[in-house]
């Protein structure tokens, strides 16, 4: 982003507002439609302002990893479809999509939200594999937070398919829900000059110096961190970012409880 445009943004921030009228620590409206995709075992469509993502959960029976024979597996994939933005291109996953997938994955994995031991069917032979795919539909900034909220909402709707010991019957789901032990969501705090913002738009992402994605559980425990951007951060700044992320996560949980979270 050229320096004039950035100066223009900073003029807004100086007044405590952003070009779209929000305060620096204000999210755009969030909506969740949970469980709408019939072919998935769990799903959610989340919008944050103009940003829209779909997360679908598929459950498959696979072989456990040899070093964890008593545990099921989980995986997060992210697809930045060229449909969603003129800046996305076809082809294998790039660094951005891999980062989104891995940060969401870490939040769920490290908080132990999914009880992987409960996914084991026959130790060393068969286990459930929970696969989440985060698919961008329209990208207008803050894809990672949207993906993280959608992944959690999708998992909350997930129901195991039928399984008779050999064949998975996707047409006749069982009555077993995937119970989550924790409810982690990721909030990204962006630093532009000396200002800290949440829920950046495309324009603000372009002007970003650094960012910190903080995943917290409902208990307030931090379960994953990811610093991004080229600029460095001071410990005091990190502390302020952590506090902001925690406050926002709590707020979002409150406003969306019962609507998918």
């Amino acid at each position: 982003m050229n320096s004039e445009r950035k100066m223009h943004l900073l003029d807004y921030f100086k007044e405590g507002f952003r070009p779209d009228g929000r305060k620096l620590d204000e999210f755009r409206p969030i909506t969740i439609e949970a469980g709408t995709i019939k072919t998935a075992e769990g799903s959610a469509i989340v919008t944050i302002g103009g940003t829209r993502v779909i997360v679908g959960v598929k459950m498959q029976v696979e072989k456990p990893y040899s070093d964890r024979p008593n545990e099921g597996t989980m995986m997060v994939g992210a697809e930045l479809y060229p449909m969603a933005s003129p800046k996305f291109e076809s082809g294998p996953p790039n660094a951005q999509s891999i980062e989104i997938a891995r940060v969401i994955d870490r939040g769920l994995r490290e908080s132990k939200a999914i009880d992987t031991k409960g996914l084991c069917l026959i130790p060393g032979e068969k286990c459930w594999s929970v696969i989440m795919d985060v698919c961008a539909m329209n990208e207008e900034g803050n894809l990672l937070d949207a993906g993280s909220i959608a992944a959690l909402a999708a998992l909350n709707t997930t129901i195991f398919p039928g399984f008779d010991g050999t064949i998975v019957d996707y047409k006749h789901p069982s009555d077993r829900k995937l119970e989550l032990k924790k409810q982690p969501i990721a909030i990204t705090v962006v630093k532009i000059a000396n200002y800290l913002l949440v829920d950046p738009t495309n324009e603000e992402e372009q002007a970003m110096d650094a960012r910190l994605t903080v995943t917290t559980t409902a208990e307030g425990t931090i379960c994953s961190l990811q610093k991004g951007g080229e600029a460095s951060l001071l410990p005091e700044e990190i502390q302020a970012m952590l506090e902001l992320a925690k406050t926002k996560a709590k707020e979002i949980r409150g406003s969306l409880s019962g609507k998918g979270l």
Binding site: G50, M83, D133, N138
Partner: protein, 253 residues
């Protein structure tokens, strides 16, 4: 009199057992699953549309005309149309679909291009590309046709020069009858021989721009299916037109 009547009834029942297939969801032979069409669903795109038919949902986004890379693909005579059909990983009825292109999606992308190219004119934008991205979050048969139907609306929404609209439908031959818009359940019927014939029509002229078939049929069967498909596409076309009007007349619903 009474005897004749009874005989007729008995014969009719006989015929019913022999050749009449009752659709699993109770539709008439020419019944299309519930449809929904919406234009302008992806604000980032130059044109976009959603088309839903039964449980199959297709989104299409158009970007361009824009510069085409790699450069050797550029054509100084005309712009080119490039379609990309993709199923989301969780959109299939069974296992997860591995992300990325496969043989099936590449073929469908190509036939989609061929289905749409006859109605669009890109001579005013040499060296450029019009990209059409078709994404399916949920499928239940008829996904390539839903993709084409959505893509045609998205192209119109993007303001690409088109001489007509394209609508697509799959018609099935089950036994000796033609059944419009098979569901996945019907495609997989085991008690009847099933042939699936996806097709696309240019609305005004009735030209066929997509025709594929798998199964076993006779010439009459194909001709009958085409006639049924043409009628169905007229109804789809009405919905496409309405969806476009809804956006451009500022009437959102």
């Amino acid at each position: 009199m009474a005897i004749t009547n009874r005989w007729t009834i008995r014969m009719k029942t006989q015929v019913n057992i022999m050749s009449k297939y009752q659709r699993t969801d109770g539709r008439d032979a020419d019944g299309i699953r519930p449809m929904e069409a919406k234009v302008g669903v992806i604000p980032q795109a130059d044109g976009s549309a959603m088309f839903k038919i039964g449980n199959t949902i297709a989104y299409a986004a158009v970007y361009g005309p824009r510069e085409l890379y790699p450069r050797f693909l550029q054509n100084p005579e005309t712009g080119i149309l490039r379609c990309n059909y993709n199923m989301m990983p969780f959109s299939g009825a069974g296992d997860r679909v591995r992300p990325g292109a496969n043989r099936r999606s590449k073929e469908i992308s190509m036939v989609t291009e061929n289905a749409l190219r006859p109605v669009i004119d890109l001579h005013d934008c040499p060296n450029a590309v019009v990209d059409v991205f078709i994404e399916l979050p949920q499928t239940d048969a008829g996904s390539r046709c839903a993709g084409i139907t959505a893509a045609a609306m998205a192209l119109a929404d993007a303001g690409i020069a088109m001489r007509d609209m394209v609508s697509a439908i799959a018609v099935g031959r089950i036994g000796d009858g033609s059944y419009v818009d098979l569901s996945y359940e019907e495609e997989a019927l085991e008690d009847y021989p099933v042939a699936d014939i996806p097709m696309a029509f240019v609305n005004r002229t009735g030209e066929v721009t997509l025709l594929q078939m798998d199964g076993e049929v006779q010439t009459e069967g194909i001709m009958d299916a085409l006639a049924k498909g043409r009628e169905a596409c007229k109804r789809i076309h009405a919905l496409q037109t309405q969806a476009l009007k809804n956006k451009f007349q500022g009437d959102t619903q």
